[in-house]
Structure formats: structure tokens, C-alpha cells
Symmetry: C2
Subunit: 367 residues, 2 copies
């Protein structure tokens, strides 16, 4: 092989970046998987029907390119959120939509901003785009640092609502205040909105700078199908259309998304079940005297205490590893000093949560 130094050929913004590291996806079975906030129930039965029908007798239809605009899915997204169809955009998961938004509205001259902590993908996609990302710390008790956001002069502001990894949700008043006073694009990343009772999509028709991004991964049980969307003023959608891949969603994801969004009743019932289970889990932490953020999501960021009543990074790591040893998988962020005394727990089925509670209770007594 001739000598060739790839490192010298890498684009500047990519040369010193690392890719995003997603949560662990174990390939073996038997895990109580509470680490990546997946839906614990199967998707609507309409999803399977739509996929099987599209595959057909022998997959003949799969040989044709999908609808490049995902028109039927856009129409269903628009219908679901009660907006005109020109306000809707479909993406290969919400990560795709977030990446496209960064590409469309930030660069070496136009910066992005977010609140810290937020979804840890933002620094990765900002770096890739060669854009500066201002990470403005939350106020006390996760209060919104309005003044600093408005002073930031960023071109686009990424607002995770409900927040990840804290799970704290903010209402229409907060989003509207930011959208009114912030001079750039306000991107609301609401992967967890199905568990909060509020979606900022209700504001896009009066806030022309609001770009709301959602996903079927958390609230529709379709993380495996990569279905995301954006809802915004058509002038924003038009720019996302310029930068997207021309066939960004395959045929089966398009029909799965349509089928899921059409079955509102099925999901409302199951989301309510998850919210109830979240309440039970919070009561459990109250009983143990463990701290947590009151969640509007399908997960809880909690701070375990050992039997002596202490908490901290080592104690959190100990519980995380103890549970892992019992094949109960949670998410722990050891490198983030703001939250490394805490662990993130996805809300699973009642059976899964029972197993978690029993193991956590046992740990709290012996450690």
C-alpha cells in the first residue's frame, strides 16, 4: 500500500471533532433496558399492517424510489399538529432534522446557542458545521437564563423542551417569551413532548422564527424506524428542504410514520400509562429520600444516596454498575460534572420498573 496521510485531507471543522456517542444498544437479550428512553410498548397495530402491505407479496414496490418529499407523511404531521401542510417537514429521525437546522442556520460567522445541560448532540453538529456554540448555564433550579439568551446574538437557539437530561418541562409562556424576544431562529427540540402535555407546534403560526422538531422515537414506539419531523413557518421549511438529502426517508419509514400518527387514541392511552408509572417512580424516590428533577418526560434524572445518606459521582457510578450487573441498564454521564452525581432512568413498563425498584431498594440498604 502506498503511503497516504488521510489526516492531512480532512476538512477543517471535522479534523479535531469526535462523533456523537449514543447510549449503549446491547445486542444480546435479557436486559431491562432503561437507558435510551424508548417506548416500552409496541407501536400501534396499524404500523405493522402498513409495513406488511407496502412490502407486498414479494417486495416489488421496494425497488422504486420513495416519494422524495414524503408528502403523505408531511400531510399527516400537519394534520396531527393542526397546521397547514406547508408547515411540515419529514426527516430521518429528529437527529437528521437537528443536523439540517444547524447546517441551514449556523456557520463560521453565525453562531448557535443552547442552555447547559441540554441534548449532547448539539456541540457535535455545531463543530461539524464550523459554528460556535454558546452553552449558557441554567439558572438556579433549572430556571431559564433569559437575559443571557437574548444577549447572546446567536443566529439560532436550541431549546430542548422538556429538557434532556433533566426531564424538566417548560410551558407555552416560556417558549413564547423566548420566540418573541430572541432575534434569531428558536429551535424547540421536543422529543419528549408526548409526556409533557405541551407542544410548541401550537405556536408556529404566530411565531415566524419558531422551528419545532419532534420524533416518533420516544412517544410512538418507533426509535428503530428513524422518523422525525420539523414544524415551522414555510420560509424556514423551504431552507430545510434545500439542505436535506433528496430521498431522506425510505418507503417503510414513511408509511410507518403515517400509520402511527393516525392512531392518536392508541398512543394517548399508553402515554398516560407511562406518565402514571413516572408518578409511582417519583413516589419511590420520595420514600427513599433521593433527590430528582420533577419530570415532564419519559425519564427521571435522580441522585441516589447510599445507606449512610451520602450522594456524589462515586455513589452514582456504584449504583449504575450494581444495576448493570443485574442486567438493568440505565444511563450515566460520568464526564458531565453538573450531573455526574445523578443517573438517568427511562420509564419502562410496570414490570420493568418493579425490577428496577427492587434492585435500587436493595442497593440502598447494603451500600
Amino acid at each position: 500500500m502506498k503511503k497516504f496521510n488521510v489526516a492531512k485531507k480532512i476538512a477543517k471543522s471535522v479534523s479535531d471533532m469526535s462523533g456523537y456517542v449514543p447510549g449503549e444498544q446491547p445486542s444480546d437479550g435479557g436486559w431491562v433496558k432503561l437507558n435510551t428512553n424508548e417506548f416500552p410498548y409496541p407501536p400501534s397495530p396499524r404500523v405493522k399492517r402498513a409495513i406488511v402491505e407496502t412490502v407486498g407479496k414479494d417486495g416489488f414496490g421496494l425497488r422504486l424510489y420513495p416519494d422524495p418529499a414524503s408528502s403523505t407523511l408531511r400531510a399527516q404531521i400537519a394534520k396531527y399538529f393542526g397546521v397547514p401542510v406547508e408547515f411540515a417537514f419529514a426527516a430521518n429521525g429528529s437527529d437528521d432534522a437537528l443536523n439540517l437546522a444547524m447546517r441551514a442556520f449556523a456557520d463560521g460567522r453565525m453562531s448557535a446557542a443552547t442552555i447547559d445541560p441540554s441534548y449532547s448532540l448539539y456541540p457535535v453538529i455545531a463543530k461539524m458545521q464550523g459554528a460556535k456554540l454558546q452553552q449558557i448555564p441554567f439558572g438556579k433550579n433549572m430556571e431559564i437564563p433569559y437575559a443571557k439568551i437574548f444577549k447572546s446574538k446567536a443566529n439560532i437557539f436550541f431549546f430542548t423542551n422538556p429538557n434532556a437530561p433533566t426531564g424538566v418541562g417548560y410551558g407555552a409562556d416560556v417558549v413564547e417569551k423566548i420566540a418573541k424576544k430572541f432575534k434569531g431562529i428558536v429551535l424547540v427540540d421536543e422529543a419528549y413532548a408526548p409526556f409533557s402535555g405541551f407542544s410548541a407546534t401550537s405556536l408556529v403560526q404566530k411565531c415566524p422564527n419558531l422551528l419545532v422538531i419532534g420524533t416518533a422515537s420516544k412517544g410512538w414506539g418507533l426509535a428503530g424506524m428513524r422518523i422525525g419531523w420539523a414544524v415551522a413557518n414555510p420560509a424556514i421549511i423551504e431552507v430545510l428542504d434545500r439542505v436535506r438529502d433528496s430521498y431522506n426517508l425510505d418507503r417503510l419509514s414513511q408509511v410507518a410514520g403515517v400509520a402511527a400518527l393516525a392512531d392518536k387514541a392508541y398512543y394517548e392511552k399508553l402515554c398516560a400509562k407511562i406518565v402514571a408509572e413516572r408518578g409511582e417512580t417519583e413516589k419511590f424516590f420520595d420514600k427513599l429520600g433521593w433527590g430528582y428533577f420533577k419530570s415532564s418526560s419519559n425519564f427521571i434524572l435522580f441522585t441516589p444516596k447510599n445507606s449512610a445518606g451520602f450522594s456524589g459521582a462515586r455513589i452514582a457510578a456504584d449504583l449504575f454498575n450494581y444495576l448493570r450487573g443485574k442486567k438493568i441498564l440505565l444511563r450515566y454521564f460520568p464526564k458531565n460534572k453538573i450531573i455526574n452525581m445523578s443517573i438517568r432512568l427511562s420509564i419502562g413498563s410496570p414490570e420493568q420498573m418493579k425490577l428496577f425498584r427492587a434492585a435500587a431498594l436493595k442497593w440502598s440498604k447494603i451500600k
Copy 2:
């Protein structure tokens, strides 16, 4: 709605670009669709089986994130092309891989190059990346302009082989010569390789600057599933991994890709059938005295002549529209002055080609 000027918020490289315009995908039935080089036969029966098995009884598995690295698919790609697994990368269609390669290896300072004409996506993704794209014209009879390529000082060279839209294929000697003498990354975009008998993947272990990109859209009957790949030296693959979406392929596309690549015998037989049909079509053009490029692809770029023996843009447009009126859809590029006297014809099934030949013959007599 408050006033908000989105145009002022758009990133510089995106502000004056237009998205790629893919070929027409009619949503109504009854078309003899010979416009986007799709496979005219169903995918391997293993594909349907793999999809149905993964969906399962009720789609329960779809709620879990896919394997972020597409490990099983990468292993199958590596096995198919006879390279170690570290040489393989999976993408959401080859357009995704091309876009990532542009993002990884070109920017405002490091330019890209290609030969003109080539796949019309390259100017779009170069512009989006703020990178200059040098479009070096082909020599007479579509000869490779070696000297100009080597003098270009581009950081990455995009080589469509077999070429689109001409269909002309180049062999191992050509690719190896370019890879040896060009100082940057040599990207071989071989969507049509299954119809040419040569894949540059056979050279990646001796050419460390070679990046070969392929797709299941053309040769595996899976355009609807968005499955693409890259095969290259692991140092190149590592950079693509940095910039890709962390879950770029959904669960069903991953298993469909594995199933298709595993059924070599099925596809070899059908690709041979398409190649034979291509020969028949070339004979038909010979009889009519119409010009065409000898194709190594599953399409032919031909130049129609009217009954008086004339050719040209107006005559090509006339035949294109005449066929369209009979619901026979080909691809015509009116804006490209190098090829606007020609029309691109996908090689379909024998039945489809019979319909095309009958209509074209009739046109040649009455026009």
C-alpha cells in the same frame, strides 16, 4: 404574525443554493417507468422474509433504536466485496455517503473536482459545504482528462463509474492510474457497477486514497429502502463515522441490506438479464441509426433522429414528450447543453422495453 426575515438568517453557503431535483416519481399507477434506473425485478425473496421477521408479531422490536454502527450490514458488505470489516461503512443510500464524503474532505479551503458531465448531485453538495467544485470536461469520446485532473490540486475527486448520465464504464487500469497519481482522495461512485463487471472495491487494499461508494438502489432492487455503502481504507472510514448521523440506518433497511447482499446468485442472474436486454436495445438503436454511448450501466443515453434524419434538443424533447403522453417515462436534461440532444433510458423488463421500442419506432416514422 410578527415580521421575521428568514432570508437574513441563512448560513452563507446555503443562502443562494437550490436543493437537488431528483427524477420524477409519479404517484399514480400505469407508468412504464424508465426514468430513474430502478431495478425492474423484485428484490431477493430473502428481503421480504428478513423484514417480516424483524417486524415480528406486533412491531415490538421497532421501538428499540437500531444498531448505530449497522455492524451486521457492514460485515455483510465487507464479505460481499472481499475486504476486512474495518473497510466497510453503511449509509442511508449512497447520496448520504456522498454528502458525508464532501463534508469530511472538502470545505472553503479544500476544493473538490469531478468530470463534466457526472452525477448532478455533486455541485449541490459542494455548494452546501461551501467548497469549490472544479468540473473538468471529458475529452473527445468521453476520454478521461488525466492531466487536468492531476493538475487540479483538488482535495477530493468524484469519479462516477460507470458514468452518469452517459453510461460509459472505465476499468481497473483507469481507476488505478487516477488513484496512484492524484494527491487527494479518489472517490469512485459506482452505483451502476453491478452492470459493468468491474468494482473498484477490488483496489481499496492497495490504494489507500480510494473511497468507493455503492448503493442497493440500482443493482439490488431496493431504491425504496435507502441502503448505501462506502468501502475504503479504515483511516477514511473513521472520518466518515465522525460526520454521519449516529443512527443513520433504520432496523428494516439494515436487515434488508444484509438479506440482499447475501443472495448473490439471485442478483447475478437478473443483472445478466438486464445486460442482455441492454444489448437488444442497442441493436434497436443501431437499426434506427440513432447514436448512443455504449453502456456499462442499466441505462442508455441515446440521441433520437426524426424521420428526416435530424437530431437536436427540440427533437429529443419531442420524443420525450411523445413517450410521456403514452405513459412511458424517460429522463431528459433540457438544461445541460452537452447532452440536451439526448434522452436517458433505463433498461426495464423485456415487456417494458418492447413497449418503449414500439412507441419509439412509431415516432421515428411520423415525426
